[in-house]
């Protein structure tokens, strides 16, 4: 939906050049979109590519997402770069919970998308980070090239400005909990 402009309200022509009309949501999205602060959260090999994106050649700062913060409390996007293991999963969840709203998650790399190369015999690897935290952007590759990560950022920014960030994402954590709840309820009913 296009944003309303001053013309839509048939203002006085005098005023049209000096008044900007828009929705508050749009302004907020615009601000958010262009100042994403990722939490520097490197887990494994993919983190090296995340570093490359922050460094000289690719320079994510050009897209307004270069302020890597060490603390989740200061950031609004989490790039889960690397393999999430069962030992690490509760910590990933805690970091996510510590981030202030609105928050976004990019699942970087095949490992976080669905277990990646370790999906079959890797007993200690979580088969997709969306089993732990809700994910906004899935970025496949092992490791994804820096260009791909930049693209993921662009996609996320697009999403934020379209205000769809919160509604579209697939929340596997919730689904899993729901499933278990249903299973438990079913079990009780049967018992």
């Amino acid at each position: 939906m296009p944003e309303p402009t001053a013309q839509d309200y048939q203002l006085d022509p005098e005023l049209q050049s000096s008044v900007i009309l828009t929705s508050l949501e749009w302004v907020k999205g615009w601000g958010r979109r262009n100042a994403l602060w990722p939490v520097s959260f490197g887990l494994a090999c993919c983190a090296m590519e995340m570093m490359a994106v922050a460094a000289t050649k690719y320079d994510i700062d050009r897209f307004g997402a270069g302020v890597f913060r060490a603390s989740p409390r200061q950031s609004d996007v989490m790039i889960v770069a690397g393999t999430v293991t069962h030992k690490m999963a509760p910590r990933v969840r805690r970091l996510y919970d510590q981030m202030p709203d609105p928050k976004y998650v990019i699942a970087m790399g095949a490992c976080t998308v669905g277990g990646g190369p370790y999906v079959k015999h890797g007993y200690h690897v979580v088969q997709g980070v969306d089993l732990v935290v809700p994910v906004d952007i899935y970025l496949p590759g092992c490791p994804p090239r820096p260009e791909a990560l930049i693209d993921a950022f662009r996609k996320l920014q697009h999403r934020i400005s379209e205000k769809r960030g919160d509604t579209l994402r697939f929340d596997a954590v919730e689904k899993n909990r729901e499933d278990q709840r249903r299973k438990a309820a079913g079990g009780e009913a049967a018992g």
Partner: protein, 393 residues
């Protein structure tokens, strides 16, 4: 007297040293560093018991990146397992592949063509240069210097492009295969490589001005986190950390694998002539810088000697080495990588065990970090240059 005061580069006790280290004891505090911490190089978690600013004892907790590659090795055929090897030490994928392929080849008694051996050495040494560059830059980052990081990434990207050209990937290559390497290198590639080597040699003095000869850097690293010879050997520390402690051992020279015995190169040994004592953070950093030069030397020699010929031996489609075991070690940028492999005559290994150098290198901090200041602990962990993928495998 606090250990820090004892070991500053000039040997004098500074004003304002914490009293607690000497006689006054205050309440101890237990806290947690990591797994999400920029200075732990990944997902290392350290539980620190501290007295004010002074570390009393600490315990590393690892396993947050345990990806079960040994189990996978028992389930998949050798050639399918090789890509997992890259992911042990993801900053030194070529070196990992080299050692793993040597182990698999030695199990079955495979001979590798001459040219392939040379290409393996070349890519392994280029990888060592890249890995050390990263270590140098990130160490600056740990100590609060952002500029060297940006500078080294310029050269690193060039090198990554080179490997990208022959392997098709930037980080994890799967280029060294059982019986040789995937593809031959072209004349143009070699020219590019020479340009890269020149660039690295030209830029190294710049990095040294930024870090090695920087007074602040020296103050932060000289005499800090000393791992002496006896402790290093007892804990099984290898690689630059071992050599910085004064042990002249480099697997490439002393137990040469592949064709390393055909090259001339120095093995630098700590302490650094610039400043500091043997086995301190400064010596380890200095040693990495020196090793970059040595690797450049090796690559140049290899380029000069490289013969023409095939790059792949004839390997049967289903490669089944006879029953037996091997233990193969090689010098990785971080230390000695070793693989123990047991074959039962099948197309997959019966048991694979990898000895990652970082695994032993990080264990030593339980002993040597006692009495360090908290800020120096970061300097200490950074100077060991661990990669968690290899600690946990």
């Amino acid at each position: 007297m606090s250990p820090r005061a004892e070991s500053t580069s000039t040997g004098e006790v500074h004003e304002g040293q914490p009293l607690v280290g000497r006689d006054l004891r205050t309440e101890e505090l237990v806290f947690n560093m990591g797994p999400q911490h920029p200075a732990t190089h990944g997902v290392l978690r350290v539980v620190i018991k501290s007295d004010g600013e002074v570390v009393r004892s600490l315990e590393p907790h690892i396993g947050n990146l345990h990806r079960s590659s040994e189990k996978i090795g028992e389930e998949l055929p050798y050639y399918q397992w090789l890509p997992y090897v890259d992911r042990w030490d993801y900053l030194a994928a070529m070196n990992n592949e080299h050692v793993a392929c040597m182990a698999i080849e030695r199990l079955g008694g495979l001979e590798v063509p001459e040219r392939a051996e040379y290409i393996r050495i070349i890519v392994a040494e280029v990888q060592r240069i890249l890995s050390h560059l990263m270590a140098i830059g990130v160490y600056g980052l740990d100590l609060g210097a952002f500029t060297p990081f940006l500078h080294q990434f310029r050269e690193r990207e060039r090198g990554l492009d080179l490997l990208d050209h022959i392997a098709g990937a930037r980080l994890l290559y799967h280029y060294v295969r059982i019986g040789g390497v995937k593809r031959d290198v072209s004349k143009e590639w070699i020219d590019e490589l020479e340009v890269f080597l020149d660039a690295v040699e030209k830029r190294l003095p710049d990095y040294n001005t930024l870090l090695l000869h920087n007074h602040i850097f020296q103050e932060r690293t000289c005499g800090i986190g000393v791992i002496d010879r006896e402790v290093a050997v007892r804990w099984g520390v290898t690689g630059p950390a071992l050599r910085a402690a004064g042990v002249s051992w480099d697997t490439r020279r002393d137990a040469p694998y592949s064709i390393y015995d055909r090259f001339e190169f120095d093995v630098p040994v700590g302490p650094s002539p610039i400043a500091g004592v043997a086995g301190d953070c400064f010596a380890r950093h200095w040693l990495r810088v020196r090793e970059v030069t040595e690797s450049v030397k090796i690559v140049r020699q290899a380029l000069g000697q490289m013969p023409e010929g095939p790059v792949m031996a004839r390997v049967p489609k289903s490669y089944k080495p006879p029953v037996g075991e091997v233990y193969v070690r090689g010098e990785n940028p971080r230390g000695e990588l070793a693989t123990y492999m047991v074959s039962e005559g099948k197309d997959r290994a019966y048991r694979i065990r990898c000895r990652g150098p970082s695994f032993s290198n990080i264990a030593v901090i339980t002993e040597v970090s006692e009495g360090l200041l908290l800020g120096d602990l970061v300097a200490m962990i950074g100077s060991l240059d661990i990669v968690l993928g290899e600690v946990d495998r």
